[in-house]
Amino acid sequence: MLLRHTPTEVKEREGLTINPAKTCQPIGAMYAALGIHGCLPHSHGSQGCCSYHRSTLTRHYKEPVMASTSSFTEGASVFGGQANLLASIETIFSVYDPEVIAVHSTCLSETIGDDLQQITKKASDDGKIPDGKYVIYASTPSFVGSHITGYANMVTGMAEQFAVSTGEKTEQINIVAGWMEPSDMREIKSIASLMDAKIVLFPDTSDVLDAPQTGKHEFYPKGGVTIDQLRSTGDSKCSLALGCVSAEPAAIALDKKCKVPFETLDMPIGLSATDRFIMALSKAAGKPVPASITAERGRVVDVMADMEQYFYGKKVALFGDPDQIMPLTEFLLDLGMRPTHIVSGTPGLRFEKRMKEILERAPYANFRNGAQADMFLLHQWIKNEPVDLLIGNTYGKYIARDENIPFVRFGFPILDRVGHSYFPSVGYSGAMRLIEKILGVLMDQQDRVALEEKFELVM
């Protein structure tokens, strides 16, 4: 047994987190910054963080992940990291020539109290930022929230520091992407294009973290939201924030700064959340839903009806990030499944409240989020009440193997399979893919354990 020391009996813990269902802020900020065209993410802290964050993103995407670091030493840790950041900015612009450097902090620079706004202003005053180039920043202390918080903070930084209101509104709709995969962002853009809605999606990591093999390394791949697009978000007629935890703060910031009204939606994962997204987009754009989208929806419902016997009543344990697991839980309920145990390491009242609403249909569910809502607890819950399916990131495979549970990889990070960054989980096509994945593992299990005389050809 890989997790042989996990006891069945659950005891409350206050000091120890075991097998976390979250990681820390800066990796989220790094991921968000990669969704700006021509951007180099910069980690203001000691270099270990930057190395770990790049490695984890790389293992997930099997793609280059570029970022620089202030490389704090003990001296800088005592006297402040201003000199390190100023030196970084100079070296970065002369060697790597980005359009923008997006700086985030770590627990080190946050504990010291380095003021990123003041340091970037000094860089600008000292003439270290070339004309037409930018340095933006977001404070991302690792001891607050999770990687999702870091993502939200960097996306908010983009909105606050780039958006400009010229006083003339355009027909454009801002779509603030919650933490989703490049394939998901591509799918959102494709839906908007089918609907003939004029949108700007930010951040946008498609064509950045799923770049083609061409024999040449593009240090700044062709994807990413451009600075001009980011500036234009201040004039857009409205914003749709996809995810109340990872996307809404940026929409609020745009509303505050440039009076862009916003609506917050669940990330469009599964049928119902996609329905709401399509309706909101249609309404915002003033365009009808095209027949092709209605037909795609119909195909998803068709499969749900055709295969209903394999879903109904099956117990599911899931873990992951708020904006993804909220609509996923709702989708499981739409499929007739029973989301039984759910954890997320990310804290937050907004998240808890929305989750409660969704779980009104599932009063039996165990749900917890925040500090001690870890995978150790999830595993203990599973030991006490076994499930038929486990959904979560790669770390779930240890539980899946020990407890012999069919397992669907979903969320971040997925370190041991390919597909998550190429095939969407959002929209109706994403819903179809999730159905296929869930059915695949459930049926594989049935095939593996069925008695010979009960082994089925047709399922």
């Binding site: 047994m1 890989l2 042989r4 020391h5 006891p7 005891k11 206050e14 000091g15 120890l16 987190t17 075991i18 097998n19 976390p20 979250k22 990681t23 820390c24 802020q25 910069h42 802290g45 270099q47 270990g48 963080c49 190395s51 770990y52 964050h53 490695s55 984890t56 790389t58 293992r59 099997k62 793609e63 280059p64 992940v65 570029m66 970022a67 202030s70 490389s71 704090f72 030493t73 003990e74 001296g75 840790s77 030196a87 900015i89 070296t91 002369s94 060697v95 790597y96 627990c107 080190l108 504990t111 690792s142 001891f143 607050v144 770049a211 093999q213 061409t214 024999g215 040449k216 500090a371």
Partner: protein
């Protein structure tokens, strides 16, 4: 057989590597980029602070301490004191395999433990939460040992992990609790963490178990972390030869074995950088000499086994070693004979941690491949130039706060394993005791040696040299492959291995053959993009 590869003029290439840097950066980097001459090894600047913003591949002290040295011991509960990230990123990402004897034996490697520090702990201190976490870990698992690792904010807010550990050790009674001040900002790289880990393991573990271990020719394997099963292969060879492994630092290791390490008669060191401190301290305190060995490469493996037999000076052992070599090498030879025609004359570059950039050059020369350039992320001058430069190395301001333990001979346990005369005789027979000659003496004249290579420099190197394979880590892997050059990860082995010993050599030959001759590299250009591609405007003609 030396491969004949023309090495381009390195001084022009060095210029190219640094001319884009701001003047101060160029000046500094030029000291870390040297043109090798194995006869008169030039001085290389190493173990100095990283240039901010340059895109280094380096990690931190915490990674060197917890991730590298302590991580592989299966029955320690390693609690990371800090916010969640440090613990999460080091969770199962280094492939330290371990094999408990019984399915019920302790193994905590699959777990990730953290105090998950929150804002209130940064403001009011985290010691209380740390002690609660230690108690909870003890109540849940009753481990033999709990180790605490400090991360960046811990040092700044003044949490005393050592005092908390002492207090909890006393309270728990039957559990060894100890802490490490391995905050990420200490030193300039992972290297500081190795040193801190060596000190802690030496102080808190080695010497705690005085039971003599049965068996002949007792040694410890130092600086072998069992990535992809490397230590398993070495264990297999030791067992075949009749050599007794007392403790491994720290691949596939246990607390009890490490506590017993001082009962061995020899330390053999694989990764000099991470564990040479332990070798020196154990010699001073217990009288155990150490010897540099290398189990990467078939020839190096045979050579190292012979060195061990020579050290013990036992005829029966020598005969057994020869028998094992005679049994193992024909299998390796058969594979190399088949593969070498496909790899002969190709070129490689290696930029890896603090050890492998040297050792893997042996495997490449067995494949008939030439190493054009190599370097470490965080090695020191002795790893490049040999230990004879140690007296000339000045410890700079960034590393001076890393503790040097004052070690003296143990009044009861010190026992020189070899007399002065015996050591002299071994040296006269060519056995280097407590020595390491470094990487550069083995590399060709005019090859480039680059310390702490930056992203910019490695891209330039690939552009200018067009090597057939580049060896580095996960952060470099997909960058280099986008350029059409295969990258062999020499940290994770791309999830394969082992690469040590005879079995490992065969695995490596096959992997390199597969990578440099893979059909995918010829498929990068779409047919319609190739020069001279037929016009797509041609129309079908009815036949």
């Amino acid at each position: 057989m030396e491969a004949k590869v023309l090495i381009p003029d390195p001084s022009r290439i060095k210029e190219e590597l640094i001319n884009k840097y701001p003047a101060k950066v160029a000046k500094k980097r030029s000291k870390s980029i040297v043109i090798n001459d194995p006869e008169t090894v030039p001085e290389v600047q190493a173990n100095v602070r990283t240039v901010p913003g340059i895109i280094t591949q380096r990690g931190c002290s915490y990674a060197g301490c917890k991730g590298v040295v302590l991580g592989p011991t299966r029955d320690i509960v390693n609690i990371v004191h800090g916010p969640i990230g440090c613990s999460f990123y080091a969770w199962l990402t280094r492939r330290n395999q371990t094999r408990p004897e019984k399915p019920t034996d302790e193994n905590y490697i699959t777990y990730c433990f953290s105090t998950d520090m929150q804002e209130e702990h940064v403001v009011f201190g985290g010691e209380k939460k740390l002690k609660v976490a230690i108690q909870e870990a003890y109540d849940l698992f009753h481990p033999k040992a709990i180790a605490i690792f400090s991360t960046c904010p811990v040092g700044l807010i003044g949490d005393d992990v050592h005092a908390a550990s002492r207090e909890m050790k006393e309270k728990l009674g039957d559990c060894n609790v100890f802490g490490f001040s391995c905050e990420g900002y200490r030193g300039v790289s992972q290297s500081a963490g190795h040193h801190i880990a060596n000190n802690g393991v030496f102080k808190h573990m080695v010497g705690n178990n005085n039971e003599p271990k049965a068996g002949k020719f007792k040694l410890n394997l130092l600086g072998e972390y069992n990535i992809g099963g490397d230590a398993f292969e070495i264990e297999r060879l030791f067992e075949k030869c009749g050599i007794t492994l007392v403790a491994s630092f720290s691949g596939n290791s246990t607390v009890r074995a490490i506590e017993n390490a001082h009962m061995a008669d020899l330390n053999v060191i694989l990764c000099h950088r991470s564990i040479n401190y332990m070798g020196d301290m154990m010699e001073t305190k217990y009288g155990i000499p150490w010897m540099k060995v290398n189990f990467v490469g078939a020839e190096s493996t045979s050579k190292s086994l012979r060195k061990i037999a020579e050290y013990f000076g036992d005829e029966e052992l020598k005969a057994r070693v020869e028998a094992v070599i005679a049994e193992e090498t024909p299998k390796v030879q058969a594979i190399i004979d088949e593969i070498r025609p496909r790899t002969e004359g190709k070129t490689a570059m290696l930029f890896v941690g603090g050890s492998r950039a040297h050792h893997y050059q042996d495997l490449f020369s067995e494949l008939g491949m030439t190493t054009l350039a190599a370097g470490y992320e965080f090695a020191h001058r002795d790893d490049y130039e040999g230990r004879e430069v140690l007296p000339k190395i000045k410890i700079d301001a960034d590393s001076k706060n890393i503790e040097e333990l004052k070690v003296s001979a143990d009044p009861e346990l010190y026992k020189p394993r070899k007399s002065e005369a015996e050591l002299e005789e071994l040296k006269a027979r060519g056995l280097e005791i407590n020595g390491y000659e470094g990487m550069m003496k083995q590399m060709q004249k005019k090859s480039l040696v680059i310390d702490d290579v930056s992203h910019y420099e490695s891209e330039k190197l690939i552009e200018l040299y067009k090597p057939d394979i580049f060896c580095a880590g996960i952060k470099e892997k997909y960058v280099v492959q986008k350029m059409g050059v295969p990258l062999k990860q020499l940290h994770s082995y791309d999830y394969g291995g082992p690469y040590t010993g005879y079995e490992g050599a065969v695995n490596f030959y096959k992997d390199i053959d597969r990578m440099v001759n893979n059909p995918v590299w010829k498929l990068i250009k779409a047919p319609w993009e190739k020069a001279g591609a037929e016009s797509l405007e041609a129309s079908y003609v009815a036949s």
